[in-house]
């Protein structure tokens, strides 16, 4: 008994609900014996990790589901001790190297070396390689990525890598070319509806179709969120009432309110207010690019046709700057200021046209 998300997570490739063709490809890969390095990418909540886990199970059998958490220690060349927690089974090890910040290079090299230096004991029944799963590869530092590319080739005999990330844009081409890219796109609204209905059926609940659609829409094609929302609705009120609003996360509401504030008034004073709210969002660990995206989405709704292009262009510009910079607040604020200027000009022109 646990959350529906965990409870009804498919454990084998055969049980996957969508992207079945891709699942078939994966199975063929496994059966073929020569398993390549994988680079799994796609938006959050699309089922990347689920697929990785299913693939591993396909490779090694149910033994991979016996997981344990281990703390590994590494020492940097400058004698600094690093500690990182890994999740591993007998056949694979999963680690998020970006947890250790800019020392991720050491972790990657040492970890893969450790894993690859030990051969599988019983190669007759098992595969003759282990798997290292690296998550959030897009947050890896450049030097870590460069360190990875040689390591990948060197230990090919005993070790395969499965890299997992949201976007490949921050993965260096050298690594992309060494891996088989596997894009896991977000499930469509229909697929989500389907899954919600089946889950509810298994739970012994009846989910009205409108309700399922509503939840799927709200979730933004994020299956994890959809399931959680659905379960939250179920806890709050059962039987489901399609008229009732699906509760959203607080940060989304907060972000929307912020956008409204920006659209209401354009002045330095308001910018100061907005800054406070941006800080609030940032301190709640909402990633700055998510904030930028959310703001843009909300702000575009008040924009006129030709203004949209300009706003989007500026948003892209400041988002890029954001990635290059250090402190997100400057860039978010700069975008807000820019929007204010554009919007104000637009309003003034509108008034001038009236007279």
């Amino acid at each position: 008994m646990s959350l529906w998300v965990d409870k009804y997570r498919p454990s084998t490739l055969a049980k996957l609900d969508y992207h079945k063709e891709q699942a078939a490809h994966l199975r063929k890969l496994v059966e073929g014996g020569d398993f390549p390095h994988l680079l799994v990418y796609g938006p959050s909540g699309a089922g990347k990790k689920t697929r990785i886990m299913c693939t591993l199970r396909e490779l090694y059998g149910p033994g991979v589901e016996k997981l344990r958490i281990e703390q590994s220690q590494f020492t940097t060349p400058s004698n600094k001790k690093l500690e990182i927690s890994t999740i591993s089974s007998n056949y694979h090890i999963e680690v998020n190297p970006s947890d250790v910040g800019h020392n991720d290079r050491v972790v990657i090299q040492e970890l893969i070396k450790n894993v690859a230096q030990v051969n599988q004991l019983d190669t007759s029944t098992q595969k003759n390689f282990k798997v290292v799963v690296l998550t959030e590869v897009d947050r890896l530092s450049k030097e870590a990525q460069h360190a990875l590319r040689r390591t990948m080739e060197k230990y090919m005999a005993t070790c395969r890598l499965i890299l997992c990330c949201n976007s490949t844009s921050k993965v260096i081409p050298a690594i992309r070319s060494r891996c088989l890219g596997l894009r896991v796109s977000a499930p469509s609204v229909d697929e989500i509806c389907q899954i919600l209905t089946t889950v509810c059926k298994k739970e012994g609940l009846t989910l009205p179709k409108e309700m399922a659609e509503k939840v799927a829409e709200k979730s933004g094609r994020n299956l994890r969120r959809a399931l959680l929302m659905c379960e939250a609705c179920r806890v709050q009120q059962y039987p489901f009432n399609p008229e009732r609003d699906v509760s959203e996360p607080d940060w989304e509401i907060y972000l929307r309110e912020t956008a409204t504030l920006i659209a209401q008034q354009q002045s330095p004073k308001r910018l100061l207010e907005v800054r406070g709210r941006l800080y609030e969002l940032l301190t709640h660990c909402i990633p700055p690019d998510v904030i930028m995206k959310g703001l843009l989405k909300e702000l575009l709704q008040v924009c006129d046709g030709q203004m949209k292009a300009e706003v989007v262009q500026n948003a892209a510009y400041y988002e890029h700057r954001l990635q290059q910079g250090q402190k997100a607040i400057y860039h978010l604020e700069a975008f807000v200021a820019k929007f204010m200027a554009i919007y104000k000009r637009f309003l003034e022109e509108g008034i001038a046209d009236i007279f």
Binding site: R9, T50, V235, W251, H284, I286, V290, E333
Partner: protein, 951 residues
């Protein structure tokens, strides 16, 4: 030969032609037809029989006789005409740019006449060569130069007349020529059917002619100059007069003052010391003109008195005199009187010096701390006052070693020893200079010395006599620039702090003037005042500058001071003042020191405006920032304050520029940090400059210290910590599928809803099976995600259950509606269920472990010996009963059946293996005395009870 000759002398000959023309027909200018007629004889019926004899005819003519050219022309007119024609044509070809007026050609400009005078000799030379080649060329040249000069004189006279005539009747000058004129022309037929030529004039030439004509003509207005110009002139005259008078007065005053100085009316203490100029250049003026006596001090009177008063409070301890009683042995009467007066005053006005003495009759404040910017005379004051009060000054400064040991040594020797040599041994007074640079351990030594004495006196009277030696019985004066150095924090609490204000400019300038006079450097008071201002009244800097000037020249003018870059310190200002400067528009500072020369030259405006001109503002802010360093902090301060600044920015353009700059600076910082490339750090100083130009105002709002970013960072760190603590103890399978981003964005918010089912506030026993299921679901989820409820005491004194880790804080935003909360009872129940469930699981895990190790305890049962199982921890081992007791279904304390897991060894193999192991053990055990402790074991009292038995 001919061609070149013609080419070279074309101008000349042309000019001559025209002279002839004019002289030939002077009246003909008035009437055009007549002039034409006069030129009639030169018809264009040119024969082609030109020969060298033509040259000969010309040779024959003296240049002086050229006036008779006309007559000679009559002899061979055709040839001559032909010649000139050819010349003209040539000339047009060779130098079309050199257009010359047909008429003004006579008064051709200097360059051309020079040209002719230079060239003529050669021409004549040739001529001479043909005539008689015996004459030396040099002589001929000289002669012809002379001739040409003479000719030129007549020519210029001629030209003057001609030009006059031209001016008079310019419009009537010949427009029609019989000959082909120079330049462009049109040919046409005259009245009588003869061919005439009209010259085509260039537009420029005409225009310049018109303008020159206009110049000479009388203006249209009645007065020769307009009224406004006249007025200006009058004013100009007036101001000049005034300025002259002023400078006269100024000069008079200076003369008088100099006279006075020479008379020696202004007496001076240091006057007598200076005799020789060469000698004086050897020593630094700063040393030389340092005050020698208390009365010569330049620092503020109140400060001086406070310090002196404080020092006098030590009199009882040091000299054994009564404090208020003025003293002293080696002092003159005048000083005594003054002393009295001062102490009296002191008591009235300066309460900061604590009057009361402690047990040992020492003043409350054991040390004095003088602080202020450099060059105000702090050290000098300390020395003078200490000397004045009858002490022997011992100085320690930054140049000394200030390690703890050395510091202590010095401190003790200075405060406890006394000079025995010398006729009049004085007690020591320690002056610690530049204490803000001392390491904090050294300062702690000083602190201890001060504190220790206090403690000793408090603890025991007996020891007092013995410890008396350790007491601080001598005054210590500390000098520092920055009193807020962290190391000085504690010291400040027990010190008399004397903050040095800036010396008054006038006072300082007066002193400088005295110095200058002695040193025979010419400098007026104005310049000195300006110098004081330049250096922020830094006495040392002023004197050094003056000495520097004296080395090179004998005068210091106001201009020097203003243009000099000497005397400027690379002073670091506080961040606050920097931020203030960024947001404040500088007010035009009136330059108080204007010299008369500047006034007369009208430089008044530039001098007045120079501190508010954009470039000056730019430079000012830029230098400030570069001096301040801490680019990141500066940027933060600006970022937090710029939105409060009052600036007119209706289109938010400035706002965008500002933000772009912030982004740029941020990217720069990131680049520096990631690449360790500090060469681009210099660009960060330009950010404040931009903000200054965008947001500077005359009345800026108060600058707030930036803590927004810091607070945000702290909060962020707190959230991260919460998430990490949540993540690290999750069950592996849940941890695998979550990360912190997922948690905040998707998971936590709905999960908290899920974790709050409606639970009836009754005992769990009474729950229906469905409710139980719900409850167990919640418990399972919470365990899987490593959450529980934790009792806390709220600030109001109520007990509440809060999530632990409190992830609610992670997802809660201010201003949004509160999440529905479970009741206290429900939370309590859940918390209890969670802990029970955790225990159950732990038990299960333990059972599993025990099951695995089942064999081990059994094998231990070999009698008489107890071999510790290698894997079983010590505490478990103790609790296990031995096999000595016969295995029955045991009953525990409460009479319940207890299953024991120990079983007898079943397998033979196991026994045999054990036996083998035992043998080796035995060997080991036989060697030494083996003592087995059996006593005190009682199954009835100690027994392992499993949690599951109690549940």
């Amino acid at each position: 030969m001919d061609d070149s000759f013609e080419l070279e002398y074309a101008d000349e000959l042309d000019a001559l032609d025209i002279v002839n023309d004019e002289e030939l027909v002077p009246p003909s200018y008035n009437s055009r037809p007549k002039s034409k007629r006069s030129l009639q004889f030169a018809t264009p019926k040119a024969d082609k029989n030109q020969n060298t004899t033509n040259d000969a005819t010309v040779d024959e003519d003296d240049f002086r006789e050229l006036t008779n050219y006309g007559h000679t022309l009559s002899s061979s007119p055709d040839l001559e005409l032909e010649d000139s024609n050819a010349r003209n044509r040539k000339r047009v070809q060779s130098s079309p740019g050199m257009e010359e007026d047909e008429v003004d050609g006579i008064s051709c400009d200097d360059t051309s006449s020079n040209l002719t005078s230079n060239k003529r000799p050669r021409f004549s030379e040739e001529v001479q060569c043909e005539k008689d080649s015996a004459v030396s060329s040099v002589d001929a040249a000289v002669e012809f130069i002379r001739q040409s000069r003479g000719h030129k004189g007549s020519q210029s006279a001629n030209s003057a007349a001609a030009s006059q005539s031209v001016v008079k009747d310019d419009l009537t000058r010949p427009k029609v020529f019989k000959r082909i004129p120079r330049g462009d022309f049109i040919s046409t037929l005259g009245y009588e059917g003869q061919r005439v030529y009209m010259q085509l004039w260039d537009e420029d030439v005409l225009e310049s002619e018109f303008s020159s004509y206009e110049k000479d003509s009388r203006p249209l207005s009645l007065l020769p100059t307009p009224v406004c110009i006249m007025r200006e002139q009058i004013e100009d005259q007036h101001t000049r007069k005034v300025l002259e008078e002023a400078s006269e007065v100024h000069r008079d005053v200076r003369r008088q003052m100099e006279a006075m100085e020479d008379d020696g009316t202004i007496g001076n203490a240091v006057d007598d010391e200076v005799d020789n100029l060469s000698e004086e250049l050897k020593s630094l003026w700063v040393e030389k003109y340092a005050p020698r006596r208390y009365t010569e001090l330049l620092s503020e009177e109140s400060i001086n008195r406070s310090l002196l008063h404080w020092l006098k409070l030590w009199d009882y301890v040091v000299f054994g005199k009564d404090v208020p009683k003025p003293m002293k042995q080696g002092m003159n009467k005048f000083k005594k009187d003054k002393e009295k007066e001062m102490t009296a005053k002191n008591k009235k006005f300066f309460s900061e010096v604590a009057e009361q003495l402690d047990k040992h009759h020492r003043p409350e404040q054991k040390i004095a701390l003088l602080c202020g910017p450099p060059g105000l005379g702090k050290t000098t004051l300390a020395h003078i006052v200490a000397k004045h009060a009858g002490y022997n000054v011992v100085e320690m400064n930054a140049s000394d070693d200030r390690s703890v040991d050395v510091f202590r040594n010095k401190l003790e020797s200075a405060t406890q020893m006394k000079a025995v040599m010398g006729a009049d041994p004085k007690p020591n007074c320690l002056v610690i200079d530049e204490i803000d640079g001392a390491p904090s351990p050294a300062i702690n030594v000083l602190l201890n010395l001060i504190k220790k004495t206090d403690k000793d006196t408090a603890t025991s009277d007996k020891k007092k006599k013995k410890k008396e030696g350790d007491l601080l019985l001598r005054p210590i004066i500390c000098v520092c620039n920055d009193q807020y150095v962290p190391a000085l924090r504690q010291l400040r609490q027990m010190a008399l702090i004397l903050n040095f204000p800036q010396t008054e400019s006038s006072k300082l300038a007066c002193r400088l003037h005295e110095v200058v006079k002695v040193e025979r450097l010419k400098a007026d008071l104005n310049a000195l005042l300006a110098l004081c201002e330049r250096t922020d009244n830094d006495i040392r800097s002023c004197l050094n500058t003056l000495q520097f000037v004296r080395q090179s020249n004998k005068e210091l003018t106001l201009r020097d001071v203003q243009t000099m870059s000497v005397g400027q310190k690379d002073s670091q200002k506080s961040l606050f003042s920097l931020w203030n400067d960024v947001f404040t528009m500088p007010r035009p500072k009136k330059n108080r020191f204007l010299s008369i020369q500047d006034l007369s030259e009208g430089k008044q405006d530039t001098l007045q405006m120079n501190n508010i001109s954009p470039s000056a503002r730019f430079q000012h802010i830029l230098t400030l920032c570069q001096a301040a360093g801490e680019a990141d902090r500066v940027m933060q301060g600006i970022h937090e304050n710029y939105l409060d600044a009052k600036a007119k920015d209706p289109h938010l353009i400035g706002l965008n520029i500002a933000n772009d700059w912030l982004c740029f600076a941020d990217c720069l910082n990131h680049y520096i940090a990631s690449n360790q490339d500090y060469s681009v750090l210099k660009f960060s100083s330009f950010l404040p400059v931009t903000f200054h130009f965008l947001y500077a105002a005359y009345n800026p709002s108060r600058v707030q210290f930036p803590h927004g970013q810091f607070e945000a960072k702290q909060k962020h760190q707190k959230t991260i910590n919460l998430l990490t603590s949540l993540l690290c103890d999750m069950t592996p399978i849940t941890q695998k599928f979550t990360n912190s981003t997922n948690l905040t964005l998707d998971l936590l918010s709905p999960m908290l809803d899920i974790l709050q089912p409606t639970l009836r506030p009754v005992n769990t026993q009474l729950y229906s099976s469905k409710e139980k299921e719900e409850l167990s679901n919640v418990v399972n989820i919470m365990i899987a995600y490593n959450m529980t409820y934790h009792q806390e005491k709220s600030p109001e004194g109520q007990y509440v259950y809060a999530l632990d880790p409190n992830v609610e804080e992670v997802i809660k935003f201010p201003g949004l509606k509160q999440r529905k909360q479970l009741t206290y009872g429900a939370k309590q129940m859940i918390a209890r269920e969670i802990s029970l469930e955790k225990m159950r699981r732990a038990e299960q895990a333990l059972n599993k472990d025990n099951g695995k190790r089942k064999v081990l305890p059994a094998t231990n049962s070999t009698p008489g010996k107890k071999k510790p199982g290698p894997a079983v921890p010590n505490h478990l081992q103790k609790l296990e009963a031995k096999n000595i007791v016969p295995q029955k279904a045991t009953v525990n304390f409460f009479g319940n059946l207890v299953r024991t897991k120990r079983e007898k060894p079943q397998t033979k193999n196991a026994v045999e293996e054990e036996a083998k192991q035992d043998k080796s053990k035995k060997e080991l055990l036989d060697t030494v005395i083996w003592f087995h402790f059996k006593e005190g074991f009682s199954n009835a009292v100690r027994r392992s009870v499993k949690v599951q038995d109690l549940l």
